[in-house]
């Protein structure tokens, strides 16, 4: 099936070459990092993890979020999602690979990485995290590929695959829970030392992940003949809306616990993030941007008029992605390290080289998504699933656009 990725329009190849150029540039930065060590990064003795690990955290959410399409389909028989499932799974594959790459570039001695598995250490959450991400990657590759092969042969999905699918659904929750545990059990890091962290991770994953997926799907619709079924899209946007509300609610719980209890350790990180401390205000602007964007995106998502406005939706989702990224892809990590164990503040910003290496990994992710989505949409076109109708609907919609159009015209004429 891979051969489907080898035939494409000029635009497709231009995009691929563009990604390869980005990867090449980032690879140079990574080679430099390999030669001189992690001193190319902005991390320090006090902030021992930085942009790499925070991107891992964010992307695990993207990987886990595919389940929001898979679960309704398999657990609730919600068939509108049927032809979207593969995209959730393929997105998860790319996200898992990006996560693993972010671990690799973050490690001081990558040549020894296998020590993690040669000396399995069940007391270390990092060991489990590497294990579950690899497992999830494998499950999605396996399930996604098998289903797509069956689709292409006009066969129904094999029955023996069911257990794997159910396992992968539960597994999705586990990967993000384990990633939260990576942070959650550390004494002395108050911003992370909270029982609700795993729940917060899942909530933010289930809004940000499907939002990213929807955005990518909207692009896919433009460049291919695939069209998201209306109902599937609507359900997904509702899930995003609920998850974002829950996400912000959980965040409010943290704020309440910290400030009502008046415990210094729990208040300090929040004070540093939102008001600055000891003369350091690096993140204050970003944090209030996060709150502002979150408020706007929630308002737009819970109001049916705005939620169903397909012109506005992409922007709403972009705002949501930025908001959750500031919260989870940056501040969660920095707020955990600051204040430091000495009660001081050590600011952290990624360096240019760190950003280039991260760009390389994101470009690799985009490349994988492009190739996998290309294959998936080609197969869908071959077998005629979810294709675009002239009116803009999907073949799965049971479209009655012609009637609807007449009606609108009548209404307009009356008005």
């Amino acid at each position: 099936m891979l051969e489907l990725a080898l035939k494409g329009s000029k635009r497709y190849w231009m995009w691929i070459s563009f990604l390869i150029v980005l990867i090449g540039i980032g690879a140079l930065a990574y080679v430099n990092q390999l030669m001189v060590g992690l001193e190319t990064t902005g991390m320090s003795r006090d902030i021992s993890w930085g942009f790499y690990i925070s991107q891992l955290t964010y992307l695990v959410g993207l990987a886990a979020s595919g389940v929001m399409i898979v679960l309704p389909n398999y657990f609730h028989g919600y068939k509108a999602n049927k032809h979207m499932v593969i995209f959730g799974e393929f997105m998860a594959i790319a996200a898992c690979i990006m996560c693993l790459l972010f671990v690799v570039v973050d490690i001081g001695q990558p040549s020894r990485m296998m020590n993690m598995f040669l000396h399995p250490t069940p007391n270390s959450v990092l060991f489990w995290d590497a294990l579950v991400i690899n497992g999830y990657l494998f499950l999605n590759l396996f399930v996604g590929w098998t289903c797509l092969t069956a689709d292409r042969a006009h066969l129904s999905h094999p029955k023996w695959l069911k257990p794997f699918i159910y396992i992968s659904i539960i597994w999705a929750f586990s990967i993000h829970t384990v990633t939260a545990f990576l942070y959650q059990g550390l004494p002395g890091r108050h911003y992370w030392l909270t029982a609700i962290l795993a729940a917060r991770f899942l909530a933010s994953a289930f809004c940000a992940g499907p939002a990213i997926l929807t955005l990518v799907m909207l692009v896919t619709e433009r460049v291919t003949t695939f069209k998201m079924p209306k109902n599937a899209l609507k359900t997904l946007v509702k899930i995003i809306a609920y998850a974002m509300c829950v996400n912000m609610f959980f965040f409010a719980l943290e704020v309440f616990t910290a400030f009502y209890s008046n415990m210094p350790g729990h208040m300090h990180p929040l004070v540093y993030l939102f008001a600055g401390a000891h003369g350091h205000h690096e993140l204050v602007g970003l944090m209030w941007t996060f709150i502002g964007l979150a408020a706007i995106s929630i308002t737009l998502l819970v109001t049916p008029k705005f939620r169903n406005n397909m012109k506005l939706l992409p922007w709403t989702l972009v705002l949501l992605v930025i908001a959750t990224w500031i919260d989870k892809g940056l501040a969660l990590l920095i707020g955990g390290f600051n204040p430091t164990p000495f009660g001081t503040i050590t600011p952290y910003w990624p360096t240019g080289k760190e950003l280039l290496v991260s760009m390389m990994i994101y470009a690799i992710g985009a490349l994988i998504v492009t190739i996998l989505f290309k294959i998936a949409t080609e197969v869908k076109q071959e077998v005629g699933h979810s294709q675009k109708l002239p009116c803009g609907c999907s073949t799965e919609d049971g479209c009655n656009c012609a009637e609807a159009e007449e009606k609108t015209e009548e209404v307009l004429a009356e008005a």
Binding site: L38, E39, D46, W49, I107, G108, F127, G188, P341
Partner: protein, 255 residues
């Protein structure tokens, strides 16, 4: 020719010694025929008591740090990527949650020595994915620098900021003329920290900072009721850093 003969004699000597030692060693331990230094000191649990009424100025602590860093080939890096095994800081930074606004002025002005606490319940060991950080039966939290993958999870896990990472090549920041040939240097990309001078305990010596402290630091077996450490702990008021972290530090501070 000469060289060859010397090598041969050496090898023969080693072989002979091996033959002589092996049966005994094997009989006694059933393990490798490595001879333990007869002078090595042992304890059920090593601990340290620092008298901050005596050791309380930056200069005095800097002197100890210098000794420690020199014998352990600790690179001298400027800025926030620094590497340090022993250093000093103010009361508020040493005991961040045990401060009060009316603290005795004299205590508040002291400077406190900081190092790895060799916790009884060390989170750095708990989180290490490769067992590169491990706890020895005598309580010392040791590191295998050749095992470490540099994931820095232990740094996130340590509530005391006791660990340093070699962000760059450590030898770049070492005076190669003054290296201590008896202790290895590290490579870049690994974590390091105070090791309670295990290499000195193994040959019957006290930790270097203890020796250089002129009596301000006591070192000994916490499980032995008659040890000097226990005697001091019985007589003087001591506190430990961040008791709420539940790590049970083995470094005690006399206030």
């Amino acid at each position: 020719m000469k060289n060859d003969r010397r090598t041969f004699i050496k090898l023969a000597g080693i072989a002979a010694a091996g033959i002589a030692v092996a049966p005994k060693a094997m009989a006694s331990s059933g393990q490798s025929p490595v001879k333990v230094n007869a002078n090595a000191v042992h304890a059920k649990h090593w601990a340290m008591v620092i008298d901050t009424t005596k050791l309380h100025t930056e200069e005095k602590i800097a002197k100890l740090a210098e000794v420690c860093h020199a014998i352990h080939n600790v690179p001298n890096v400027e800025g926030n990527k620094e590497v340090k095994w022993l250093w000093s800081d103010a009361y508020a930074h040493t005991f961040p949650e045990q401060e009060n606004p009316h603290l005795s002025e004299e205590v508040h002005q002291r400077t406190f020595p900081l190092l790895c606490n060799h916790c009884e319940n060390p989170p750095c060991v708990r989180v290490c994915p490769t067992k590169a950080t491990y706890q020895r039966p005598d309580g010392i939290v040791a590191m295998d620098y050749h095992r470490c993958i540099g994931c820095r999870y232990c740094m996130a896990g340590c509530p005391y900021g006791s660990r340093s990472f070699n962000w760059g090549e450590p030898r770049k920041n070492l005076d190669l003329e003054k290296l201590n040939p008896e202790f290895p240097t590290r490579m870049r990309g690994v974590v390091e920290k105070c090791n309670f001078c295990v290499e000195r305990l193994a040959i019957g010596k006290q930790p270097a900072c203890v020796e250089a402290s002129e009596g301000a630091i006591v070192f000994g077996d916490l499980r032995d009721p008659d040890s000097e450490v226990r005697q001091v702990l019985r007589e003087r008021f001591t506190i430990r850093r961040k008791p709420t972290a539940g790590t049970e530090p083995s470094v005690y501070y006399i206030i």
